[in-house]
């Protein structure tokens, strides 16, 4: 993660904003007249997409809006962008704003690529002279080449998106609003987009990003806002926001403890991440020795049993897992009641970011596994030495 430059003044202020939609089932004059008056109410439905949200965004920060489908995050982005106006409350903004809600929204299929570049840049607030000055750069970035003078209706969808993105990122916005647009194009192009957005960040611009991909948000943002049914349920550090999103997705209240009592012969009651001194760690330094302590509760004495753990990224990608079967370790027989066991990881070489620890236990005979998902969470300390999914000591010579 690259740290943003020092945040500047407030560029976006959302003051207690509520947005209600009226969903009508009749859209023609005839239907409207037929359903006028009291019966009309049955054909109307009020729907609150954003409910009393207040927030401030400082210049130079990258903010991720997270939430399940229908939580109002796209509506909030549109409110910030001025595309819809709030029912109550107000939205104040400062500086030039570019909304990347849909690439190529202003493209006209019958015009050539060149004409569309000028039109689209103008829509984003650039003057024709500014566009002309940056035209070669835009063309270069898009990689369209000689097709620039062909009507865009003959473009492949990839070319279309590349040209649209090229225009969008060359318009020099102070605030960039991005809605899921990074999910298009081939891998090479996506990487190019990400690089560009990273550069925007390092230039001290403000980015507000809506994404379903928690990993993407974690990679790009330094602040996360989680919405649920139109209400803001979390606002703060992006790593905490991602776990708050998990809670929302799984229907839990944010930060609520996991439900226990599964009726299994052995149950996991808690998972701790510890350092060598036995202190609970939330942040783990790269390469340090790390201990995963699993607390279990046995209903009766169990002579033969096994346990295991796995470590996942927030997107559910497993990065490390093992169990006593694999390690060919015989655990001592378990007394009835509470006890605990530990796995020790000699050197934690995970890449920077957040991880979840899962664990499972089962008696050998009869096998009846109890799993605790995401019983603990830790963050790998950030180092400037390397990036990527694993961390390693690197030397040059």
């Amino acid at each position: 993660m690259v740290l943003s430059p020092t945040p500047g003044p407030v560029v976006v202020r959302v003051d207690d904003v509520t947005k209600q939609f009226t969903v009508r089932k009749d859209n023609s004059l005839k239907e409207r007249i037929v359903h006028a008056g009291r019966r009309g109410r049955a054909h109307k439905q009020e729907y609150t997409a954003v409910d009393g949200v207040s927030l401030e965004i400082l210049a130079g920060t990258t903010v991720g809006l997270l939430g399940p489908n229908g939580s109002g995050k796209s509506t909030l982005l549109k409110l910030i962008g001025g595309i819809v106006s709030p029912t109550t409350g107000r939205v104040l903004t400062r500086g030039r704003m570019a909304a990347l809600l849909e690439l190529g929204a202003g493209f006209h299929p019958d015009l050539s690529g060149r004409e569309n570049v000028f039109l689209n840049a103008s829509i984003m607030g650039m003057s024709p002279t500014e566009t002309a000055a940056r035209f070669d750069e835009i063309l270069e970035f898009s990689g369209i080449g000689d097709f620039i003078d062909t009507q865009v209706k003959f473009y492949s969808s990839g070319m279309f998106v590349r040209l649209a993105f090229a225009v969008a990122v060359h318009t020099d916005p102070d605030v960039l609003l991005v809605d899921e647009v990074l999910a298009v194009g081939d891998e090479a192009f996506q990487r190019k987009c990400m690089e560009r957005i990273m550069r925007f960040r390092s230039e001290g611009r403000t980015i507000v990003l809506v994404s379903h991909s928690a990993a993407q948000v974690q990679e790009l943002c330094d602040r996360g806002i989680v919405l649920k049914e139109g209400q803001m349920v979390f606002d703060g550090d992006v790593n905490d926001a991602v776990s708050a999103l998990r809670d929302v997705l799984e229907g839990r209240r944010v930060g609520e403890a996991h439900a226990l009592d599964s009726g299994k012969p052995i149950e996991i009651t808690r998972i701790d991440v510890l350092d060598t001194e036995g202190n609970t760690r939330e942040v783990v330094p790269t390469g340090s020795k790390m201990r995963v302590r699993i607390h279990v509760h046995a209903r009766r004495p169990i002579p033969d049993w096994d346990m295991g753990f796995s470590i996942d990224t927030p997107t559910g990608q497993m990065v490390l897992a093992s169990n006593t079967e694999r390690l060919e370790v015989d655990l001592p027989s378990l007394e009835a009641g509470d006890s605990s066991m530990e796995f020790t990881i000699e050197s934690a070489n995970f890449g920077p970011g957040q991880y979840f620890v899962n664990a499972n236990v089962w008696p050998v005979e009869p096998e009846d596994t109890h799993v605790m998902w995401q019983g603990a969470r830790f963050t790998m300390e950030h180092t400037d030495d390397s990036i990527g999914t694993v961390a390693a000591a690197i030397s040059v010579g």
């Binding site: 202020r13 939609f21 859209n27 023609s28 004059l29 005839k30 409207r32 549109k78 962008g81 001025g82 595309i83 819809v84 106006s85 107000r90 939205v91 104040l92 903004t93 400062r94 704003m97 909304a99 809600l101 849909e102 929204a105 202003g106 006209h108 019958d110 015009l111 004409e115 000028f118 039109l119 103008s122 829509i123 984003m124 607030g125 003057s127 024709p128 009507q151």
Partner: protein, 281 residues
């Protein structure tokens, strides 16, 4: 800090005049793209329409007999009326046909009906050139001073075209019937003003029917009628004073002032309604 989507609209639209120009060009360029005759179509349609009225009404129905230089008389009326109709019809669908932009990008939305008015203005300009060429050819032009009537009448039609266009553009988002109603009303309105017939025919008919004096006043003070009469004065030199109502300029000025008030009101309505454009489409 600024409020997106509110306040200082005129300024905001003015700041985006480059975009407005590009949107007008887009409309025009895209219209005849891939057609062999291209911009010639701008002329072909009105000329065919003109020939049709000239032959059927003027020659077959003998409307031309009482009116000298009937061709210019007719074409002048058609030109300014089609400008009005194109402004209103184009604006009405402008927000909907730019749904992609309205839903995804913040722009002062007034820009879309304005771009339609701009495109209609271009067509009008081309037709005016044809009209002028025709008038020179038939030696129908009035004294050069009389041609100044062009300005008040075009200004008047522009005010009403804008006022109606902006209002209908906003209403059409909520109620799609508006565009069809507009088409029908525009067709009717053409016969409600002295375009293919003379104003004197109406006043004579009203007299014969024994209608009260205010009836002809109501007919005359219809802004389209006033604009048509004024515009005709600028190009059709054969007209006598008796062919026009008294105090035409005063009537145009008053109608223009009322039009400005209507324009203000319709813009207020537009501003109120535009907040929900994005989700109504």
């Amino acid at each position: 800090m600024k409020f997106p989507g509110r306040g200082g609209k005129l300024r905001e639209v003015f700041d985006r005049r480059d975009l407005l120009g590009l949107l007008v060009r887009r409309d025009l360029q895209a219209r005849y793209r891939d057609s062999v005759l291209g911009f010639l179509w701008t002329l072909i349609r009105p000329i065919v329409q003109f020939l049709m009225y000239y032959l059927v009404l003027g020659q077959f129905l003998r409307a031309a007999e009482g009116i000298p230089q009937f061709a210019i008389f007719l074409f002048a009326g058609l030109t300014i009326y089609s400008f009005f109709a194109e402004m209103v019809q184009g604006s009405t669908t402008s927000i909907l046909s730019n749904a992609g932009l309205v839903k995804k990008i913040y722009l002062p939305r007034e820009i879309f009906p304005l771009a339609s008015v701009g495109a209609a203005g271009f067509m009008f300009f081309v037709q005016c050139l044809v009209l002028l060429a025709g008038a020179v050819l038939f030696q129908a032009l009035p004294a050069p001073v009389e041609m100044l009537w062009f300005f008040p009448s075009v200004l008047l039609i522009l005010i009403y075209g804008l006022a109606l266009g902006i209002l209908l553009a906003a209403l059409n988002v909520y109620l799609r019937d508006v565009q069809y109603v507009t088409d029908v009303v525009m067709m009717l309105a053409m016969w409600l003003s002295p375009i293919v017939y003379a104003w004197t025919m109406v006043s004579d008919a009203f007299n014969t029917l024994g209608l009260p004096a205010w009836a002809i006043e109501v007919y005359t003070d219809n802004p389209i009628t006033l604009a048509v009469l004024g515009f005709r004065k600028a190009f059709w030199g054969a007209g006598m004073d008796a062919d026009y109502p008294d105090d035409l300029l005063l009537r145009i000025v008053i109608a223009g002032l009322i039009g400005l008030v209507l324009l203000f009101i319709s813009h207020r309505v537009f501003t109120r309604l535009q907040g929900n454009f994005a989700q109504e489409m």
